[in-house]
């Protein structure tokens, strides 16, 4: 597509539920990133994919967070047993190759009640 797309735009869930966030990168971009933006922590790196592999998962905050990428394209970030501190904007970015300009999607605003 023309840009990075993310769905849903907004998600409200109850504490303890699981959520799935989706990212569609720019076509042909082999690298994909998830970041999180929250009031207290700013913008933080979560995980990096090169193709379908995730060589850097160092930013995932706990084992409740996981992500996968299939077909070198779409990625899903899953948060299990959501907690209120998971409320944030989850941003996805993609990059052609391993360096250069990262392009960000519009984000998913997650609110855990």
């Amino acid at each position: 597509g023309a840009g990075v797309s993310q769905s849903p735009s907004n998600k409200v869930t109850e504490k303890g539920k699981d959520v799935e966030l989706r990212c569609d990168p720019i076509s042909g971009h082999t690298a994909l990133y998830w970041y999180r933006q929250s009031l207290g922590q700013g913008l933080e790196f979560l995980i990096y994919f090169q193709g379908n592999s995730a060589p850097d998962k160092s930013g995932l905050p706990s084992d409740r967070f996981s992500a996968e990428r299939t077909g070198g394209s779409v990625s899903t970030l899953t948060i299990q047993r959501t907690q209120q501190e998971d409320s944030a904007v989850y941003l996805c970015a993609s990059l052609r190759g391993g360096w250069g300009t990262q392009y960000f999607g519009p984000g998913t605003r997650l609110l855990v009640l």
Binding site: Y33, Y35, E44, G100, F104
Partner: protein
């Protein structure tokens, strides 16, 4: 890990004024990007500038990698320039593209 500090944290300008935003980083980098986050939360690329100077319309940026800082210049500011400006870097010897963000500068341009 690498530290990224942006200044000033907040800036209020009258329309038409010029401004300079600064980004200091604590270690060598191989990637530096400036972003503008608009009021709807979208991060918009301004510059990919690990070194040197670039210009795009009323905006320009300079990175002096050896002295570990980057500057973003906004000239003849407009109300549409309002929002948060982020600097983000990738620490050497990184080759993954993983970005570390500063805390941002919040700019408000008044008509």
């Amino acid at each position: 890990g690498i530290q990224v500090e942006q200044s000033p944290p907040d800036l209020i300008l009258q329309e038409g004024a010029n401004s300079t935003l600064r980004c200091n980083f604590s270690d060598s980098v191989n990637n530096l990007q400036w972003f503008h986050q608009n009021p709807w939360g979208q991060l918009i690329n301004l510059f990919y500038i690990p070194s040197g100077t670039k210009q795009n319309g009323r905006l320009s940026a300079t990175t002096v990698a050896t002295e570990r800082y980057s500057l973003l210049y906004i000239s003849s500011s407009q109300t549409t320039d309002s929002g948060v400006y982020f600097c983000a870097v990738e620490n050497l010897p990184g080759n993954t593209g993983k970005l570390i963000f500063g805390q941002g500068t919040t700019l408000q341009v008044k008509p």
